[in-house]
Symmetry: C2
């Protein structure tokens, strides 16, 4: 087999088969002009993936079918592989609704191939993905369910598609989506296909979002699979953003060819829509090609690239061209300001500092300096007068008991005043200023704050998008450092933003000039919260590690926890306080929080019931033990 293949790494717009089909037809033309023999598009390239209830709309499914036929019609001598939904209108899904498959189509000379050795003229996904943002089983019928219904072994339905071209016949082994992730499931699709006879090429079409370090693992799994099967694999993934309402996923592309020895022979750059044509030799090597440069995706540079691409595409999707950003002088808003400015341009970013009497000259100066460094629009809108007015109105307006006419007054405590300040900034100023500026305002809260609800609703937890919502505080610092060091190559974010104690500056006990600030100890609390969000066993596993003396190692915390807490009681009090915040108010606040831009496999924003904090029987036993040991 020698084959000129075009990798159609396209931007898929969810729910817009019209736009996606236009993109594909354009790429088909370009591939033909470059003498490609085969062009490959991503999984669900026609409909998109994260569509919620649109999957149940007959009108939408019919349109996807029609657009799919248009693509088949455009194939001609150029073979086209693409992902689309396949609807069997005669059958029902397991829930009684119309039956849908997540399908891979091979079109050639205006016809669909593969119906000769399969019940449908396509291939369908075997391994359903039901973790985090994916809900395959809710929407799609799997190959396993079809096999059960047909009284066949799943393996028997894993037949290659024979692509009979003028010069040669290529035995294509088709792997939609998860079917190539041979590590995660017991069933190995690639092996099953090989059982049915020799194949020339594995084709994996995917719709896989960026997650820190994902491609490192991806390359390991796919390389081994290619090597073990002695067969090249072509992986084509889409770019763009798709969301489930509360979390925005950034699709990274990174389409790749693995040769039969498991080496990477072609690689498409991340976060860019691009058709790449390669001349493949039978072993999957690229003719006259060298070893491609594969960027590392586990570091802060990858996060920077993902976030700026994600902001750009999400703003485009919701039609927002300008933003207002509250600039406190701290690191979070500084990094958010840099990211948005780099994407939208300084003329489309309005930075606003909103001091109260608790804000230090230090942070006010830092905000002004950063605004000057970025060359954005800038203003200062103090909040003290409005806050005083509100405190007085709340505290000094009589409340009447309508049963007996008695009057009373409600006290406004310093804690309430803190939240009044926070809401005054966002709901009073930022929202109005954004409307006047013709855009939206941003949510600068980071993942540490959102996890435990160390934020105020209708305040710092408001905004169109939480761009730092999947970054722990330490990641925000690293990203700020990366911006100065690698992106600007000068001190755009003032050095003091990195050294100031993080502080909301909402009362005198949070004075940054005195080195006081938030009740969170970074990076310890970052690491603790990460253990809760990323692993399913909090907090009893945390406590077990503490008792085993390996807490620091388990959390990945490089200092000693005993420096922060004098004894087991103090450590447990802190643990339980934040755990209750995470599961209690934190969850309630997240239900009303803006969407988070995801850069890890553990982004916040999934549906989360308000259940409150719960401690297992084992936790209670371990706690008794820890307190006894002191």
């Amino acid at each position: 087999m020698g084959l000129r293949v075009a990798l159609g790494q396209m931007e898929v717009v969810p729910g817009r088969p019209d736009i996606n089909t236009a993109t594909m037809l354009k790429m088909i033309d370009a591939a033909r002009q470059q003498q490609a023999e085969l062009v490959i598009f991503p999984e669900l390239a026609v409909p998109g993936y994260l569509l919620g209830n649109a999957w149940e709309q007959i009108a939408f499914l019919k349109d996807c079918e029609r657009y799919g036929r248009q693509i088949v019609g455009a194939s001609g001598e150029l073979a086209v592989i693409f992902g689309n939904v396949y609807v069997d209108w005669e059958q029902k899904g397991h829930d009684g609704r119309v039956r849908k498959y997540n399908a891979l189509f091979v079109a050639y000379r205006g016809k669909l191939l593969g119906g000769d050795n399969f019940p449908y003229p396509c291939r369908i996904k075997t391994l359903q993905h039901d973790c985090r943002e994916f809900d395959d089983s809710r929407h799609f019928y799997s190959l396993q369910q079809l096999a059960l219904e047909q009284g066949q072994r799943v393996e028997a339905l894993q037949q290659p598609v024979l692509l009979k071209m003028a010069e040669q016949t290529i035995r294509l082994a088709c792997l939609p989506g998860e079917d190539s992730w041979s590590d995660a499931y017991d069933f190995k699709a690639a092996t099953a296909i090989k059982e049915n006879g020799p194949v020339d090429l594995f084709v994996n079409i995917a719709s896989s979002p960026f997650a820190l370090g994902k491609n490192r693992k991806h390359n390991r799994v796919f390389a081994r699979q290619a090597r073990e099967q002695g067969t090249p694999i072509i992986y084509v993934n889409n770019v763009g953003v798709q969301n489930n309402g509360k979390t925005v996923y950034i699709f990274d592309g990174c389409s790749t060819v693995y040769n039969a020895r498991g080496e990477i022979s072609a690689y498409c750059q991340p976060f860019a829509e691009k058709l790449t044509v390669v001349e493949l030799e039978p072993d999957g090597n690229v003719k006259d090609g060298g070893a491609p440069v594969v960027p590392e995706d586990g570091d802060i540079a990858a996060i920077y690239q993902a976030l700026t691409y994600g902001i750009d595409r999400f703003m485009q999707a919701i039609g927002m061209k300008k933003v207002v950003i509250g600039l406190s002088g701290g690191i979070d808003s500084a990094v958010a300001a840099c990211l948005y400015t780099n994407v939208l341009g300084p003329e489309n970013v309005l930075l606003v500092n909103m001091p109260s009497k608790f804000n230090s000259q230090t942070t006010k100066n830092l905000a002004a300096r950063l605004a000057a460094n970025l060359g954005c629009l800038y203003t200062v809108m103090p909040i003290q007068e409005a806050v005083d007015y509100t405190v007085e109105q709340i505290g000094q307006t009589p409340i009447i008991d309508m049963k007996d006419g008695r009057e009373m007054y409600l006290p406004v405590t310093p804690f309430m005043t803190e939240n009044i300040q926070a809401r005054d900034r966002s709901a009073r100023i930022l929202a109005a200023l954004a409307a006047a500026f013709g855009g939206g305002f941003t949510c600068n809260a980071n993942k540490s704050e959102i996890t435990v609800g160390y934020t105020t609703l209708y305040a710092d937890l408001g905004g169109a998008l939480a761009v730092l919502g999947d970054l722990w505080k330490e990641d925000v610092y690293r990203l700020g450092d990366y911006l100065n060091r690698e992106v600007y190559r000068k001190e755009i974010i003032p050095a003091a933003c990195f050294t100031l104690k993080p502080s909301a500056e909402l009362n005198t006990s949070q004075s940054v000039d005195k080195g006081w600030g938030d009740p969170l100890d970074y990076p310890y609390h970052d690491r603790l919260f990460a253990a809760w969000v990323e692993r399913p066993e909090p907090p009893e596993e945390t406590l077990a590690a503490y008792l085993d003396g390996c807490l620091e190692e388990t959390l990945g915390y490089t200092d000693r926890v005993s420096k922060l807490f004098p004894n087991a009681r103090a450590w447990l009090d802190d643990l339980e306080y934040w755990w209750r915040q995470y599961r209690g108010l934190g969850t309630a606040k997240r239900a009303q929080a803006p969407p988070v831009l995801a850069v890890t496999g553990y982004a916040l924003g999934e549906p989360e019931p308000q259940l409150g904090a719960w401690f297992s029987q084992r936790y209670e036993r371990l706690k008794t033990q820890a307190l006894a040991e002191g």
Copy 2:
């Protein structure tokens, strides 16, 4: 078979196996004292149902197992049927995680029955429920998947459990959850069980939330099933509230015994935790029992009962005892005030009227009158000064272009001022007042407004719970009327609240005294939006009905649409405007909206991607046709 059965209609607290087990042990004691031979608890009675990622926590699953063993241990001569998760620690689910089943257990004399003719000592659910709030396939392995794995027919695994008691052996046909809803699925579990031999009794344990008219359908389906099989069915459902973060579901109980002729022989009242002991004759009749009174659940009385129970249990769950309610003089806030006052008592409800210069004396008086009628706490906090201050601060603070030092000013339009007013009321006053009062504030938005985003974020769309969020405007009126007529039996809500044109009173064009108001025409827009939310085919089906001349009938609108719109163009403009609002800004706003208390099968609050509005090819064709026809 003659059997003394206790129906354990308990409140299930999601994620709290400790509390649920304590409830069950208490009911087991009570059942024993009343000489019951069998007690039946609901589906997933130990863990609860809507748990999100808690289903993946090993510590949680282990606790559920331990508590399950405690219940088995408590059985003795009293047989106990209950729902719990069954974990097969040796096997993986389809996604590689630990395998879990939604299971029904029969315990007797300290042992689990049913392992003699089934792979596990329990029965597991066959029909996975993946619509709306349920995500069975994401969490549970089904009986169909198990049958596939074991190379057996599903029917062969549908064996009755033999309950061998001192005096008799009862062949129990076990139907967990959906397995009794024989209408919705092709597979009929009851028929399959009967194929394996005679049975004496069907037991259906359920965890089924209230939805308007659900039980009417439930009774029809179950009665027919009992009649067709000639076998009595006992249905036991839980009460309480469970939520998925954005929607709060109210479980109605209504546990029922259907005799072998399909008649209802015993019925437990809705929304009440209660153990009911009945002496069943072999045909499912209750010894010495008359025909029980079965309340209608498709009317406004049922909604009132569901909402007040739901408020009570949700407030209890989140630990909120007091609320502040913004009282505008309109019907929505009036009804919300009545509901909360009836649940929490007038001393725990603080009503606040927040007039601007646009609010009429009419509505201000109505608010004061209602507060007096309810005997709540009441106050008036005007917003005009604060709004003027904000408008001035936004419009008159110079914005500096930091590139060249130029100054500019941003104009504040009347539309922006409307939203400034709305946010001033909620984020400035209500949130602060709620904190000072020691409670939360309510969201009074109705379903019509939330559907199309005719609300302001961080304003009237803020609050702890949207108690009217699943009621169309016309339902709110009906509920208000019901409160005066049936609950209070006097005019607590002033009559003018029902006759005023609905208005936000945010500008002079919304003067209620001039009969002006919101841009929504009720009930037409109610009916239009209901078609979009309740059926999956908007808006092309709406347009097709319009062209067919049956729009009114399709929507259930009793007047003529032509009275509202002079021609097809005007009708289409309105249709497309609201459709874009529904799919565009409406969706973005709902992502940050409070949880909605569900009373229908179509409550808002499901995860919804922000996709924007989309029109199908068929819609565009029909539109051309409609415009041509005028």
